[in-house]
């Protein structure tokens, strides 16, 4: 929860990770290259005082997660991504099984995302059904650009992908986060292409497609699709992190999203632990679009708009009643630690 001029802002971090990329879990040099690349994103865009050392970054552990998101980072509810990468990491990078352990300790604080790979065809459908039945999966995170055997990626509108999306919908899934941005093993342009979202969004009007990283560097293609498809949303992680060192581009990206999609279809995401929500939210809440950009685009980043982007939009997608959820969060273990800290701050 963030307090703006005495008003409480409900914060949903729409995109974050709890990974273990420590040396013990790395299977090969790719595992190292993977986390090193993440670290470069981290150090390239974080303010200096928020840059961690590489050891902590590889495997930061649960207490750091709880503190960076909830105790220090204003987050009320966080959407946990699941990524597997067994080829690089012995026990996986951040699997839904591992994510669920932390979710179970703080059930109201996390939304757990599962995943599927349509290239597993029939056998994968059973596995997917099992995952949906055994775990409290509320959303999906899909990576279309991943290599697998001879395949160099897949598309959301592949026939097998449609079978999985149909099954997901039958099992109550509403929200599908699609990774479209800097990626794993990117061989061809097709892997980055956002056009497949257009087909899937038309054919599955009951699903919401949150395009993570707003398709960067395909922001333009993403915007054209989103203007045509009312169930396509902007996931702003990576773009959000521009706010510190590249505020001009941040302002322009935000103005474009507000111009093409409007204030109801933009979701905050920190991409933690690539970046920490605290500094992004501190800066975002204090951020004003420069006058010339406001004038040119005819959009404003008012407190109301900020509130929507920070949490109201995501809460709506995930059916979270903000008032009720606030009440339940204030009574959980993290809520107790937050009250204790605030009482102590009040006393001193």
């Amino acid at each position: 929860m963030y307090s703006l001029n005495g008003e409480d802002i409900f914060v949903v971090d729409g995109h974050m990770h709890f990974w273990d990329a420590g040396p013990d879990n790395q299977r090969n040099d790719y595992g190292h290259a993977w986390i090193k690349c993440f670290y470069d994103y981290h150090s390239a865009l974080s303010p200096a005082e928020y840059v961690w050392d590489f050891d902590k970054y590889r495997n930061y552990g649960e207490e750091a997660l709880v503190s960076d998101l909830f105790l220090e980072g204003y987050v009320d509810v966080a959407v946990l991504n699941s990524t597997y990468l067994y080829e690089f990491f012995k026990t996986g990078f951040n699997t839904h099984q591992k994510n669920n352990v932390v979710k179970q300790k703080h059930p109201d604080r996390f939304v757990l995302c599962g995943s599927f790979d349509p290239r597993e065809q029939e056998a994968g459908l059973d596995k997917f059904r099992e995952m949906m039945a055994e775990y409290p999966i509320q959303g999906l995170k899909l990576y279309t650009a991943e290599w697998r055997g001879e395949s160099r990626g897949w598309k959301l509108n592949d026939p097998w992908a449609y079978k999985y999306l149909e099954l997901a919908q039958e099992m109550g899934i509403k929200n599908v986060h699609v990774h479209k941005g800097p990626t794993i093993y990117p061989l061809s342009r097709d892997a980055f292409d956002v056009n497949d979202v257009d087909y899937a969004a038309t054919d599955f009007p009951g699903l919401n497609f949150i395009v993570e990283h707003v398709g960067l560097p395909r922001l333009d293609d993403f915007c054209w699709i989103a203007t045509q498809e009312p169930n396509v949303y902007a996931g702003t992680s990576v773009a959000m992190a521009f706010i510190h060192s590249r505020p001009k581009y941040f302002a322009e990206i935000m103005a474009n999203l507000l111009f093409w999609l409007g204030e109801d279809r933009i979701l905050f995401g920190s991409d933690y632990a690539i970046w920490s929500p605290k500094w992004i939210i501190d800066r975002f809440m204090g951020f004003q679009l420069p006058g010339d950009i406001q004038e040119e685009f005819g959009v404003e980043l008012t407190p109301t708009v900020k509130r929507k982007i920070m949490g109201e939009n995501a809460a709506r997608l995930y059916g979270i009643d903000i008032k009720e959820r606030r009440a339940s969060l204030s009574g959980d273990g993290i809520g107790a630690r937050l009250s204790a800290a605030s009482a102590q701050a009040g006393a001193s």
Binding site: Y30, P186, A191
Partner: protein
């Protein structure tokens, strides 16, 4: 911009070599690999065997774009007098070996990456040449808008109606920043579009004039394409800097 380490024999001219590299674009960003700082070093032996080392912003930069840059470096330098052979090396990269071998021996992308499916490299290049075209066009239109020209008037302009602001006397109605104009016309020519004096100044990627009533929407879209390229370039520069210092 990082200046590459350069070691050349006397018969190779430093400026000419740099000019070649400056013509090699990161297709996705529409900026030269030289100005992006991707060129780490250039060295040649007295026989004219040139080795260029490229360092891309991440280990995972897409293989197809990396391939385009490596083969373009080779092609540009191979055309220079006194160059016998060109080797391109990539700093740590997931597909570095295949890119170096394939681009170095003039293979097509599909030959170097047989598992990648049909060769769409040229198609990819064309897609990004067009994106770059929109970005360059947006910068030109932005200048015209700043000069208070309404869209209807911009739609009616011909190529002959604009001239570089520091150029010789000209009957052209509007003066614009020289680099903005030259970059626009350069890409327009590359796309094979008519650049003659009476041609409309603003045409789409296949050379059709934009109806005045549609120009504003066209401009708003070009504006987003320009931002996508610039923001991508900005992210890549930040990543490359972090990679070099870490």
């Amino acid at each position: 911009m990082m200046t590459p380490a350069i070691a050349l024999p006397p018969h190779l001219n430093r400026e000419a070599v740099l000019a070649c590299l400056d013509r090699v674009l990161d297709p996705e960003l529409d900026e030269s690999v030289l100005s992006l700082g991707f060129v780490e070093s250039v060295a040649a032996d007295p026989a004219g065997n040139v080795t260029v080392c490229l360092q891309l912003p991440t280990y995972w930069c897409a293989a197809n774009f990396s391939y385009l840059m490596a083969s373009d470096v080779r092609r540009q330098l191979a055309g220079l007098d006194g160059v016998r052979a060109v080797t391109v090396k990539l700093g740590e990269h997931f597909a570095g070996h295949e890119v170096e071998q394939g681009a170095g021996s003039g293979q097509t992308f599909a030959q170097a990456f047989p598992q990648g499916g049909p060769d769409t490299l040229e198609e990819t290049r064309q897609i990004f040449l067009r994106k770059g075209y929109f970005a360059r066009q947006e910068r030109l239109m932005r200048v015209l808008r700043r000069a208070n020209l309404p869209f209807e008037q911009i739609a009616a302009l011909q190529v002959a109606d604009v001239a570089p602001e520091d150029g010789p006397p000209s009957p052209a109605a509007v003066r614009v920043e020289a680099r903005v104009l030259s970059r626009y016309l350069e890409r327009r020519r590359e796309l094979g579009l008519d650049c003659s004096a009476p041609a409309p100044l603003i045409v789409d990627a296949v050379g059709l004039a934009i109806p005045p009533a549609e120009l504003e929407t066209y401009y708003l879209r070009a504006r987003t394409s320009r931002l996508a390229l610039e923001a991508g370039g900005s992210l890549c520069s930040a990543l490359l800097q972090a990679r070099r210092s870490g």
